[in-house]
Symmetry: C2
Subunit: 252 residues, 2 copies
Amino acid sequence: MSAAPTAAVLLIGDEILSGRTKDKNLGFIADYLTALGIDLKEARIVPDIEAEIVSALNALRARYTYVFTTGGIGPTHDDITADAVAKAFGAPIDHDPRALEILLAWFRQIGREPNEARLRMARIPQGASLIENSVSKAPGFQMGNVFVMAGIPKVMQAMMEEAGKRLSRGVPMHSIAVTVEAGEGDIAKPLKDIQDRYPAVIIGSYPFEGSRGFAATLVLRSRDGEALAAAEREVKTMAEALVASGKARGWS
Amino acid sequence: MSAAPTAAVLLIGDEILSGRTKDKNLGFIADYLTALGIDLKEARIVPDIEAEIVSALNALRARYTYVFTTGGIGPTHDDITADAVAKAFGAPIDHDPRALEILLAWFRQIGREPNEARLRMARIPQGASLIENSVSKAPGFQMGNVFVMAGIPKVMQAMMEEAGKRLSRGVPMHSIAVTVEAGEGDIAKPLKDIQDRYPAVIIGSYPFEGSRGFAATLVLRSRDGEALAAAEREVKTMAEALVASGKARGWS
């Protein structure tokens, strides 16, 4: 089995760090990449400060197959992502003729004045390819292994669909979940024994407070279907034994 | 005005990166710190891999006044945060007598067996102080400038209240928001002019699609009340001018 492509996400924007905006993009991108068999390994959130964006971008793009950024590509003064990407790559940046064409045609169609601020959205680092924006036209772009997308969830999602066409896919990671109505403290020992026997399966335990007390969802993930099925059987047997011994109220 | 304390958040857990769990902790911590006048400058999300946690922790704790971690302090095999923190600080880790006392009393009270897995939750790096957990007792801890908290939102929030008592506060950042029903492209130029005149005010523009088309929420943030009030007046005058010229449908 060849190694899966890896990815990082870089969310750019003061509004997430101030608490004003609750991010919805990371979860979408995580689900999207997981479905393609690409392992999301890290995410970072940085403010609208060029040096911070450049530094995070350079750390992440050197380390992972792909980097996906969201935010900071609009027409206002706080939209500095395109310039930061150009700086990270040491590339010149200017109005891109392809992006200008798209934007001018769009502004003509909807009767908007193509002013200097709007045309800032055509600033694309030299060497980048555009990422189509079916929602509001102003394109994202791909520079090397970095995909630069909008921050508005609907626009980001449209760009992710376009970016997705260009990505190498991995063997999808399959996952199954078993919920056990027991304290994690009673699940931990038998669960670790199963984890030790199935190194190809990643087993996580996620406790929560259910209507009848604390419970845990046990998530098994693997690219190896046989190992996953075998580990799943063992986890279910474990859950039954916990119920039989009175340590679990039930499982599903 | 003295510099505000700074902070970073480190969210630890495979489940956020796989998309299975949509994080709710960052937004809470961001709001909490903002109310205390502490500037959240960066956030990172890493998987349940010790080397990744250690590396991120060491990068963040060297750079910011405070670091807040969530996740990975339960009793199961994937809970490795306490050991990673000990490793990051080069400190020994063992069962902490204070934590053991809390846990043993609690298990006695609720009739739970104090097995090896449960007692793992008493493993605390040497030199750390405990952070009380009023919800499920197993404590978090503070090691140097790092606050280690649970991943379950309700438990994390209880720990954040405790951690909050130990934090230096800054002058609170005040913020006001003006929503303009116009394309950002028409707002950008006059808004940048206001930003240029008020360097003590951080102005962000957050576009969204409203019921009558694209609009933008303009957020002004500052520790300087007078500058904020003056910039707010200018933004409102700008909004009125955009409406008068037909470029905005309204503002509020």
